[in-house]
């Protein structure tokens, strides 16, 4: 029997140090002579900077330097945008605003001081005279002819228009037998709000002309390249190190102004410079998520089969582009058909500048918006035709036999069995019993709501041809002379647990104890190449690279072993710390093979000493995980308060390498998706002031808000990578938002409510119920 490691519920390698406080984040690091930086940020959403008086700040004892936008001109490049869309307007995005600010929180002045207290005191003493300019906050208003311009150098506030068409839209419009259902949805702005805020230390050594940067990032390698470009330091002399990262959710898949300014300041001053983001800065000046207006039209046959879908997406991009800002809403268009084979589609995406912080990738990144649109649409169809929402979905699913399947959007879905997940979740939740209970309770004036969501998402990003900066991933495996194994990945896990799952892959393949494998990531000088962790790609692309590297390594080890055992290399099996022939008649301990490779006294012909192999995996396609969720809510008829009673989900993320990790990802993802449905809303007032600037007003979901989540899985493997895994980092977030909204709207059916926008705050629900009562 082979020892089973892959697929087992193994506890995370990373947890003991995280739980015991033994891990090191950027803020835990202190370098000799280190200086501290803080920023003075705009309090206006749009204004000319008329003057800056920093004399008082400079005179504070302990202040080393005060930097302004013009000090960086020609010396530090702009904040980069990697998204390439046809006709995209890319505004200049200097790291410190030189003469005009365009959102509240935009950095204007950087203060460098001996300690953080001094820096903050000095920041308070900087006097900036602003000349306020007209502000535009609402993206629809920004599209109007007489709207104030966010960037006066452009003729309007439209950053791009992208169209996606498939099938034959004329056919749909001319078919008078189809029913048209229209609805506007608001996908409100959210704050990623990871537990650890951003943070960076830049340390420049003039002797070597070398820049080392510690940053809480998801993309150390991309950051290294960008910082080299921005600062002019030779890339070969740039190094980015990512210590522990306390959450990111996409918000650290970016290159930020502060990283640039810290590098610049260190280079100028010849000392290490540290900046740690405060929570208020994090709410203001770390990218935001979502923020779309979706105008949807669905053309449906009388049996509930959808014939066509048309949507106009107005995506609020904020004032500037961060790394992927404009690319995110295009993912919404791409995934708008969800798991339904709708033959005709027409989507127009309009990216709009407003006087707000940039939006960019936040857990799900464009796909939660798509899933919300299509899953709400399915419920609207059910409501309109008086069908059960589960039945409508069934009628629109493609059959498992149809895969691989190219949709009208042009996307190639790999594998799926939507019927199976739906069936399983209906059973787990006792769906038909719930419907009966709902009937009973309604008669008593109690409002139970049952909400469904059957989603599909796009993961394992992705084929390089469709990615802005390459979609491959690097992996390397080395057996050390002591027979311990080191794994290097170009991905940059930050809480997902790949130190565990990658060790599982390698231990299983090599037939050695799991504890003998250590995974390294997040240091560009240790790991040669990498793209990073995002888009639920780490295992499906990075894990595949490790798997590929370990295959090469096994081949090499087998050559050494076969040479000694005098058998054919292909005959050997790795198991139980040995390499042995299939019949078990001959074997050699793993350690002896390692010795043979390193002592190299007798090399098999044509084989080099050492045991290090690497692979760059280029994925041929994305993967398409899917699932089915059921939410059960109770709405208080007097106050509109929503109580989430039960949550059931069945997720299919392909092959499961470690169920514990999958559960962890799903639980956290659900919390964030439910957060959007019920509470979260990052609000700017009409003057562009961010009024949910603290966690007192911005509701982050907390453990006590939730019942226990009933999670389970099906496993439909993908042929896209050799592991058969699809990705699960964002599934919970993507699937849960519409399930909750569908449940609440379902609860409100007796009041004739057919749609409410998120977040479903009690007052909104109360008003809807009140209005219904007034009309009755």
């Amino acid at each position: 029997m082979r020892t089973k490691i892959l697929g087992e519920r193994i506890k995370r390698k990373e947890d003991p140090r995280l739980i015991r406080g033994g891990a090191h984040y950027v803020d835990d690091l202190k370098l000799d002579g280190m200086l501290y930086m803080t920023f003075v940020r705009s309090v206006y959403a749009h204004a000319k900077i008329k003057s800056i008086n920093d004399a008082a700040a400079r005179s504070v004892h302990g202040v080393v330097d005060v930097l302004r936008g013009r000090d960086l001109e020609g010396k530090l490049g702009n904040v980069p945008c990697a998204a390439g869309l046809e006709g995209l307007k890319i505004p200049d995005h200097p790291c410190l605003a030189p003469d005009e600010v365009r959102y509240v929180g935009e950095p204007i002045v950087a203060i460098v001081a001996r300690d953080r207290y001094i820096a903050e005191d000095a920041a308070d003493k900087v006097e900036i005279e602003y000349g306020p300019l007209p502000v535009v906050v609402n993206p629809e208003k920004a599209l109007e002819k007489d709207s104030p311009l966010v960037h006066s150098k452009f003729a309007d506030n439209v950053a791009f228009v992208a169209k996606l068409e498939g099938g034959d839209w004329k056919l749909v419009e001319n078919d008078k037998s189809l029913k048209l259902i229209k609805q506007r949805f608001i996908n409100q702005r959210l704050a990623p709000a990871s537990m650890e805020t951003r943070g960076v230390i830049a340390s420049y050594s003039s002797g070597e002309d070398a820049l080392t940067v510690w940053s809480s990032t998801q993309i150390p390698h991309l950051l290294k390249t960008q910082l080299a470009v921005m600062t002019g330091v030779d890339e070969a002399r740039c190094r980015v190190i990512t210590p522990e990262v306390g959450g990111a959710f996409g918000s650290k898949l970016n290159v930020y102004a502060e990283e640039g300014v810290a590098s610049f300041a260190s280079k100028k001053l010849g000392k290490p410079v540290k900046w740690i983001e405060g929570r208020r800065e994090n709410m203001q000046a770390t990218i935001h998520g979502r923020d779309q207006i979706n105008d949807l039209e669905v053309y449906v046959k009388s049996d509930g089969v959808v014939a066509g879908l048309r949507c106009r997406i107005i995506a609020d991009l904020g004032a500037y582009h961060q790394l992927l800002t404009p690319a995110i809403p295009t993912l919404t268009a791409l995934m708008i058909l969800g798991c339904y084979n709708i033959p005709n589609v027409w989507v127009e995406t309009i990216g709009v500048f407003t006087n707000k912080m940039a939006t960019d990738a936040y857990r799900g990144a464009g796909r939660p918006e798509a899933t919300y649109i299509i899953e709400r649409a399915m419920d609207l169809v059910a409501n309109e035709l008086n069908l059960d929402p589960a039945e409508v979905r069934q009628r629109n699913f493609p059959s498992p036999k149809d895969f691989p399947l190219t949709l009208a959007t042009g996307v190639d879905y790999d594998t799926a069995n939507y019927q199976k997940t739906l069936k399983k979740v209906l059973k787990a939740s006792g769906y038909s019993r719930l419907r009966k209970e709902q009937e009973r309770l309604r008669k008593k004036g109690k409002y139970l709501g049952i909400g469904l969501s059957t989603y599909v998402e796009i993961c394992a990003m992705g084929p390089s041809s469709r990615m802005p900066a390459g979609g491959w991933e690097f992996g390397m495996v080395r057996v050390e002379p002591t027979a311990k194994v080191t794994v290097y990945t170009g991905t940059s896990p930050h809480g997902q647990g790949e130190e565990t799952s990658f060790a599982q892959i390698v231990a299983e393949e090599l037939g050695i104890p799991f504890d003998n494998v250590t995974v390294y990531h997040g240091d560009t000088s240790v790991v040669q190449h990498g793209i990073g962790t995002f888009g639920s790609r780490t295992t499906a692309v990075g894990g595949a690279a490790i798997f590929g590297a370990v295959q090469k390594l096994k081949k090499k080890m087998a050559r050494f072993a076969a040479f000694k055992l005098k058998v054919k290399p292909g005959e050997l099996i790795f198991d139980g710390g040995k390499l042995q022939t299939a019949d078990g008649s001959k074997s050699i301990p793993f350690g002896e093979v390692v010795e043979a490779a390193y002592y190299a006294r007798q090399l098999p012909p044509g084989v080099e000493p050492g045991l290090t192999e690497q692979m760059v995996f280029e994925p041929p396609n994305y993967t398409f995980p899917f699932g089915a969720h059921v939410a059960v809510v109770e709405v208080d008829g007097e106050t509109g308060e929503v109580q989430l009673r039960n949550y059931y989900c069945v997720d299919d993320c392909g092959r499961i390498l470690n169920p514990l990790l999958v559960d962890g990802q799903v639980h956290g993802g659900l919390a964030q998706g439910i957060g959007q449905a019920l509470w979260e809303d990052h609000v700017y007032d009409e003057n562009g002031q961010l009024i949910t600037g603290t966690l007192m007003d911005y509701t982050l979901p907390k453990a006590h808000h939730f019942p226990w989540f009933e999670t389970s899985n099906t496993e439909t493997r993908t042929p896209v990578n050799p592991l058969g895994v699809k990705g699960v980092g964002e599934a919970g977030t993507i699937g849960s938002t519409p399930a909750i909204v569908n449940a609440v709207v379902d609860a409100l059916k007796p009041f004739g409510v057919r749609h409410l926008d998120m977040p479903l705050k009690p007052e909104k629900i109360w008003r809807a119920m009140k209005q219904a009562a007034a009309q009755a």
Partner: protein, 294 residues
């Protein structure tokens, strides 16, 4: 998120603390649990020149039964109040209120005195102390005075305490025979603070009519208050559901109702009525249980 600089003092006893507050006046601030003050300081919205840390003063931390009253030291934490067996049996409104405050960490650090002195319009304690007609015990270098709850809360974040005074203790009446009390709260989902919080204590007479009623409402106006019209409509009456509902419709009469991103004034007013009814109903239920026992 870094406060301005300040001088730190840690008096060992009440006498020393009163001397310091007398000396620094408006330039000084007492530090108790720090869960209201420290956030303000970190945002630089408050910048006391002197911080007088009273957490080491043991004589301000106690729960004492004195006949039909309880005296509670200002430094008693929310958690100590929540878990006091004595209070659970003799003044259950206090543990029930404490349980609703923030989360475990907040309850472990935050103090009764700090919460009352801060007088946040959405804090829970003010509802309970006005409902119970508590008495605040303020001490200064020049002596002490007792301030009834109804005079204690002056306005938004403002109390009758003078800068040179320390809130040392509060005194509340124990639950009388045939009495019942309850706290009902609609939490803000982000902060846990009360969007609306209603504390109620009722006492029934032999016939089951409402002999006494005290209701305290927080979260609704600039400060916690007693809804006079509501109480008046119920005092001496037999408390049927319809009468309760009618009375509780007056929960926010005469109050400039708060409005924020989470709840408009209209909705908050509605919540005040609903939660007032729920609190009084629950208190009545408990009072009638207690009447049967006695």
């Amino acid at each position: 998120m870094i406060p301005e600089s300040f001088e730190y003092h840690a008096p060992k006893n009440l006498a020393e603390a009163t001397r310091l507050v007398g000396q620094f006046g408006a330039d000084g601030k007492l530090l108790a649990g720090g869960h209201s003050l420290v956030p303000l300081m970190k945002l630089r919205l408050a910048a006391p020149k002197h911080l007088i840390d009273i957490t080491g003063i043991g004589e301000l931390n106690y729960i004492r039964e004195e006949g039909d009253r309880f005296e509670i030291g200002a430094l008693t934490t929310h958690f100590q109040l929540e878990s006091s067996g004595l209070l659970k049996s003799r003044c259950p409104l206090l543990p029930e209120t404490a349980r609703e405050i923030g989360d475990v960490q907040v309850r472990n650090k935050g103090t009764l005195g700090g919460s009352l002195a801060h007088s946040d319009p959405a804090a829970d304690w003010p509802a309970a102390v006005v409902a119970l007609d508590a008495e605040m015990h303020a001490v200064s270098a020049s002596g002490e005075r007792r301030i009834p709850a109804k005079d204690f809360f002056v306005d938004l974040l403002a109390t009758a305490l003078q800068p040179e005074e320390i809130l040392a203790a509060i005194r509340v009446p124990a639950l009388p025979a045939r009495g019942g009390d309850a706290y009902a709260k609609h939490c803000h989902p982000a902060s846990g603070f009360a969007v609306v919080g209603v504390a109620a204590r009722v006492v029934l007479d032999e016939r089951g009519n409402l002999a006494e009623i005290g209701v305290g409402i927080t979260g609704v106006g600039p400060k916690a208050y007693r809804p006079a019209a509501l109480e008046e409509a119920l005092r001496g009456k037999s408390p049927g559901r319809k009468r309760l509902e009618e009375a509780c419709a007056h929960a926010a009469d005469g109050v400039e109702v708060n409005s924020d991103l989470y709840a408009s004034a209209e909705y908050r007013g509605h919540l005040a009525a609903v939660y007032a009814r729920r609190a009084v109903e629950k208190a009545l239920e408990r009072a009638s249980e207690n009447s049967q026992i006695s």
